[in-house]
Amino acid sequence: MILDEKITYSLIALILALGSLTAIPPIIPERVVEPFSELGVLGPKMKLGDYPSEVSVGESFDLFLYVGNQEGRVLYYRTLIKVGGLETNVSDTEPFEGRLLDSVDLVLADGQNRTTPITLSLSETGVNRRVVFELYMYDRVGDGFVYSGEWLQLWLNVTISSF
């Protein structure tokens, strides 16, 4: 009768396993193991790499801003575009203290991304000017935008306009 018990236990275990596999996923919602946001800047042809390196003062140049949401919930993003030089620092914890050029707001559901065209122009000449893109997320508890730690920069030489 040992075989009899073994078969019974095996069948019960199999059925319980199948039942659990069917029933548990709907009960426990999907969890995002490692939530993150994406920030990217594309060149005027919507590609990585064809960024401008030299512009004239007041000259408009086009870029594309890419933001992606993998945080597991809907988020209200704000991207601040700032300009500055080498004197100020930027890191994952401290935002750049440059002058604000523009901002782009957008709402993304989980898993969504969006590429937004932007047009910028710089009003001061200089070598090695930094155009910094920082991603902020709206925090309901603090009722304000919180720096996500995602940032990018574009190095530019801004020359005197030929006109």
Binding site: D4, E5, I7, T8, L11, I12, I15, L16, L18, G19, S20, T22, A23, I24, P26, I27, R73, V74, Y76, D105, L106, V107, L108, A109, Q112, R114, Y138, R140, D143
Partner: protein, 134 residues
């Protein structure tokens, strides 16, 4: 009511102040969408709506700002409705899961009670004609 007050605001107050007022209303609408998502609602259409409102605020102009103002209430109402639908869906799913678990438990008990005899009966039926020799 809100629309009327914003209409008066848009026509009388400086555009910058109106824009700030609209952004505050936008946050309220966004929070309503957040709540709807937490309650299990499908918020994809509301996200599109919110981005369109943001574009209208960004573009500015009296007509654009008025249109943006007129759309907040609809977003909030839709968010509440979607949240309710989401909650109902979650409840239905919970009941479905409970029924599946119940069915699995009943099935396990039936197997526990009847499977051994059934298996042996089948075994005997297939091997019953075998003869054992000493």
């Amino acid at each position: 009511m809100l629309f009327t007050s914003l209409f008066v605001s848009v026509t009388l107050v400086a555009p910058k102040e109106v824009e700030q007022e609209l952004r505050a209303d936008f946050l309220e609408a966004f929070q309503a969408v957040e709540d709807a998502e937490l309650r299990g609602g499908d918020i994809s259409s509301l996200v599109v709506e919110l981005n369109e409102i943001l574009e209208l605020i960004e573009i500015g102009g009296e007509a654009g700002l008025l249109e943006a103002a007129s759309r907040f209430e609809a977003v909030k109402d839709d968010a509440i409705a979607l949240g309710m639908v989401g909650e109902e869906g979650a409840q239905a799913q919970l009941i479905e899961s409970a029924l599946i678990l119940l069915a699995a438990s009943v099935l396990s008990l039936l197997v526990w009670r009847f499977a051994p005899s059934l298996i042996w009966r089948l075994w005997l039926r297939s091997k019953g004609e075998w003869k054992a020799y000493p």
